[in-house]
Assembly symmetry: C2
């Protein structure tokens, strides 16, 4: 008797940005494994009696190791349960989905992935801007601002990132942005390039701060907000 | 008396991939301007009596010019109506959102943007793969396969696109893919790089075809499907 795992994208934070399919999977779940960013109103869609298991990496408590999360997923599924693995934003983006999929495949457990609203799209929407522009912003790229050690990744493609005609969205990159901005400017990107800091997007704590690649490091240093943050760079980030 | 325009992302096609907020805006709308990809079940959320206005660019009939769509948006809003502008996928991605926003700003009409599930995220989910991988696929990029004339854009950043450690998603790029593949291979990308063609994602006509950058052009030539298509390239597209 083998269960089934639905990887469900919970979106950027606003419970109204859940998809109808995400709600349906939550309502049908026996077990929900959730990250810290999947908040109360989102979990409230689960039926009474469902097991709600927090496996978040934030909130100051001890962080379960990734292989522990994968083992929990497999263990719950092997009881025959319908398991929902909630992941914030879109589950396929910077969320270690692959490690969990690999664990399920190794254990012979079926799964599905329900796509969702990425916080990158939500950040642009909150700022009232598109991510692309005909002729001048035809490429959009998403990168993470830190590697497993917390440092700026060492193998950045600067020719890609310093392209003035791309829109770049940096996930989890607030702390390393001063270093990244220096690299981008060194690679030829104008310090005047518009930049936008989007924090706690789509939640009541949402804050949008506009600047440039040259000024954003100081803007980041001058504020204390500690929620999830994205930085958008490019001609449209004005 | 000025109305209000909600740009509502309708997602990749599956009506269940609408967000709760998109449904709420549709239910409250006096007028819905929709593209061809926003199908019947999605429009069925509009209340009885709402005006449903097709402004699609496909389906074989005469395509309204972009400035005509913008004028319609302004005209409807100026009647005081609550207008929903439905856009397939995420409205900020390759959907000419900027032109329509500019027209509203020029006319002094307020608007909001409701983000949605991009067809890129839906394509990866349908294939059961993530878009990112720790260490080996830390950058994701989205490009369009044709410019306003229908040709491959002339100013492609090949250093960005031929990067073997990125996941690249090409929108509307089926016809120009043979030319693009040649450029990518010429720029050093291995022809063995996995590639995946995702057609009519999340609809009953969905079709996923796997190949490589070297073989995908032939795979495209050998099939007749004419729905919307994305091509994913990169280590995760296996």
């Amino acid at each position: 008797m083998t269960g089934f795992v639905s990887f469900v994208s919970s979106g950027p934070g606003d419970p109204e940005l859940l998809t109808l399919k995400a709600v349906a999977r939550l309502q049908a779940a026996d077990v929900v494994l959730f990250d810290d960013l999947s908040s109360g109103p989102i979990l409230a869609h689960a039926r009474e009696g469902a097991d709600l298991v927090g496996v978040g990496k934030r909130a100051g408590r001890l962080s379960p190791k990734q292989d522990h999360v994968s083992r929990l997923l497999v263990d719950y599924a092997q009881t025959g349960a319908r398991v929902v693995r909630l992941k914030s934003g879109d589950s396929g983006m910077f969320g270690r989905l692959e490690e969990e999929i690999t664990a399920l495949r190794d254990a012979g457990i079926s799964y599905e992935v329900i796509p969702g609203v990425s916080s990158a799209m939500a950040a642009a929407a909150a700022a009232g801007i598109p991510l692309t522009r005909r002729l001048t912003a035809r490429r959009v790229q998403f990168v993470t601002g830190h590697d497993v050690t917390g440092s700026l990744p060492g193998d950045l493609n600067l020719a890609a990132l310093a392209d003035p005609s791309a829109t770049t969205v940096i996930f989890m990159g607030k702390r390393t942005f001063p270093e990244l901005a220096g690299l981008l400017i060194g690679a030829g990107l104008s310090p005047q390039t518009p930049a936008l800091l989007a924090e706690s997007v789509s939640t009541p704590a949402q804050k949008i701060t506009r600047g440039t690649v040259g000024t954003m490091a100081d803007l980041i240093a001058s504020e204390a907000e500690d929620g999830p943050a994205l930085i958008l760079i490019g001609p449209l980030a004005e």
